[in-house]
């Protein structure tokens, strides 16, 4: 039974640390760094899904996150190329 709690709290810690890292972490002025940082809470969330045995949700989440990251990266690079000042 212990392992359920271990995975759960590990996931929680990762999510919180990861979101802190995304919001106020070092180098987040660069949107690229920030986007990559969002992957840390994503891993934490995956662990939480695992504790609840939400296997299918987990698989879909992984697929969706990778697509979201792809979209964001494309946006960032294109905006950079345009020289947009936001």
């Amino acid at each position: 039974m212990l392992e359920v709690y271990i995975w759960f709290y590990a996931g929680c810690t990762l999510v919180i640390v990861g979101s802190l890292a995304t919001v106020i972490g070092p180098g987040v002025k660069d949107p690229l760094v920030r986007t990559l940082n969002t992957e840390i809470p994503a891993v934490g969330l995956s662990l939480i899904f695992l504790t609840y045995n939400h296997t299918i949700a987990l698989l879909t989440f992984i697929a969706a996150t990778s697509i979201i990251t792809l979209i964001l990266l494309r946006t960032i690079v294109r905006l950079e190329e345009m020289g947009a000042e936001l």
Partner: protein, 223 residues
């Protein structure tokens, strides 16, 4: 062994409150970030964090229902980010008056492996996805198509592929609707309805994911 218990297991009940608190904390961190951030693009990235908070709280109910509710949440997030990114780019393009290629860096990675492996990986993923069918299957097969299309950036692609894919996914959507109607109008043919629904969603999701890839390549050198 108990297949389906009467009540939710005590473990899930015990970790419900911590899970909700974690969700709220994460949401607060994300919202704090949004409210102090000036840059529009950065805010867009930060909304991702708020979405994670939502998924935690929904998943924490810990029933099969919760799991099936997580899926729409994910999809909504994906859909909105997709549409908003495009609007942001459209806005900036009008502001600066510059147009840039959709994959901006000159894709010069003319590596041998990109010429040969993608087809293989894509085929494997699509077949595995077809085997799974339904949502997960669609996502996996879509990843395969995506991979294939991305690799084609360096090789060029027939230009009318887009319209074809878009049309097919529309048809798949109708297929899925038909399946849904069969399930309710003729419950006896539930197997037929199930298959229609599962494969309709499969084709739809797969092609949608593939579309992202096509969007990424649009004006490549058509050699």
């Amino acid at each position: 062994m108990i297949l389906v218990p009467d009540v939710v297991s005590p473990v899930v009940v015990a970790i419900y409150a911590p899970a909700v608190f974690v969700g709220i904390i994460v949401a607060l961190i994300g919202l704090f970030g949004i409210s102090i951030e000036k840059n529009d693009l950065q805010v867009l990235i930060l909304t991702d964090i708020v979405g994670v908070a939502m998924l935690i709280i929904v998943a924490a109910v810990g029933t099969d229902l919760a799991e099936s509710l997580v899926l729409p949440g994910l999809v909504v997030e994906l859909a909105e980010i997709l549409a908003i990114c495009e609007i942001l780019m459209s806005r900036e393009m009008r502001k600066t008056g510059k147009s840039v290629s959709l994959i901006p860096t000159p894709l010069n990675f003319d590596m041998e492996v990109l010429q040969t492996s993608p087809v293989f990986i894509a085929v494997i993923l699509v077949i595995y996805g077809a085997f799974l069918s339904g949502f997960t299957g669609g996502a996996i097969a879509g990843g395969g198509i995506l991979f294939y299309v991305m690799s084609l950036t360096v090789r060029g692609l027939p230009s009318d592929l887009w319209e074809g894919i878009a049309g097919a996914s529309g048809i798949a959507w109708c297929l899925w609707l038909t399946g849904f109607l069969v399930l309710f109008v003729f419950p006896n043919y539930w197997l037929l309805g199930l298959m229609l629904a599962a494969f309709g969603v499969f084709i739809k999701v797969a092609f949608k994911a593939g579309l992202i890839g096509v969007m990424n390549r649009e004006e490549f050198r058509k050699e």
